[in-house]
Symmetry: C2
Subunit: 191 residues, 2 copies
DNA sequence: CGGTCTCTTGACGGAGTTCAAAGCTAGTGG
DNA sequence: CCACTAGCTTTGAACTCCGTCAAGAGACCG
């Protein structure tokens, strides 16, 4: 599905038809089975991943041994631990496929080479990071302002299909509560 | 203090001496008194701000009327509501000077013009957003993993000078707790 | 020296956690 | 295609963190 990435790049950067094939050749297509890891704690996040099909999640394991999911990446979104990626230092995160997933991966070094060879790609990555930054600001606001119960209702009315697509315990892990409490929240409305 | 911005741009983008003065002329220097607002709720965030001196904070007012501070920007950091900025839609945030502050402001339109005229600036903004994105990922991890008490201790051991610099109630607003509870946390260690 | 703004202290309440156990579902091998 | 098991979801009781409210003590500024 390199076509998905190609179209995405063309949409956000002014790239000519002649260059686009060579640009896409900097990326490697990878297929992942459910629960397969792209990154594990303690390793350096050497790649940035574009999801062309499926669903990734990023999580860390807290001091009580609980997995905390900090973000999901659906089709057309990028995912990486950018702290680890930009400093090439060990990561504290896991990146894992929630379901069967296809990603286009680009290594740190290849991204550097790509940007040197095609400076027009700076714009593409600038826009991607600006959007991701805006999305992260929004997530932070949500974490400050909503109770877990409000988060659940807001999230499930905004992305009803998505809530069906993932198991309950992953949703709890993303909302930042226990599966037990999420179950209690859901029970309230059924009466 | 346009020199601070100039040096920052030169550090992160390969910009020649000849262009830098013209580039800096796209920005407007603004001085702010303590508690003066750069952005208020309901208005469009038309500028992106580079702090050359002083300290900004971004906050929103939650449904109970409480100010929730989501981020601070010290010298050499950028600040804007990028959701509002990139879509030119009304913001839900305030941006306010904590103390006497000097910023370099660039409007959305001027940034577009700057990037058209100096494509090398794409790299500068790409790097800034990537760093900000990484910082936001880190903040999200903190919000998931630490109790308010742990956040206080981690924050005040990491930035001891900064904690002195701001009033207690702003720190509480940033930690996401009440001034009363912060006071209780601080009292614990004194025995 | 008087008033407003900030910080502290304490009693009570509610949101959300922990632990334990039982019910349910779905994937797997035979 | 069924049976079994592992993993997911629900329920409930006791407990913790942190918010709310109220009131007092400093501290800063005119």
């Amino acid at each position: 599905m390199s076509l998905v990435l190609q179209q995405h790049i063309q949409k956000f950067a002014g790239i000519g038809e002649s260059d686009i094939n060579e640009i896409v050749s900097f990326f490697d297509k990878t297929e992942l089975k459910k629960k397969q890891n792209l990154l594990t704690e303690g390793n350096i996040c050497r790649h940035s991943y574009f999801v062309s099909k499926g669903l990734l999640r990023m999580f860390f394991v807290n001091d009580r041994g609980i997995e905390q999911t900090t973000q999901f990446a659906l089709e057309n979104w990028w995912m990486a631990d950018y702290t680890s990626f930009q400093r090439q230092e060990p990561s504290e995160y896991y990146i894992q496929a929630v379901e069967r997933t296809e990603v286009m991966a680009i290594s740190y070094d290849k991204q550097e080479a790509l940007l040197r060879q095609y400076p027009a790609m700076e714009k593409y990555f600038r826009v991607m990071h600006q959007r991701a930054h805006a999305a992260a600001q929004f997530r932070i606001k949500i974490l400050y302002s909503l109770s877990r119960e409000e988060m659940y209702h807001s999230f499930s009315s905004k992305y009803p299909g998505f809530v069906q697509r993932i198991p309950q315990y992953l949703l709890a892990s993303f909302l930042g509560c226990t599966p037990e409490y999420l179950s209690e929240i859901r029970a309230k409305r059924k009466s």
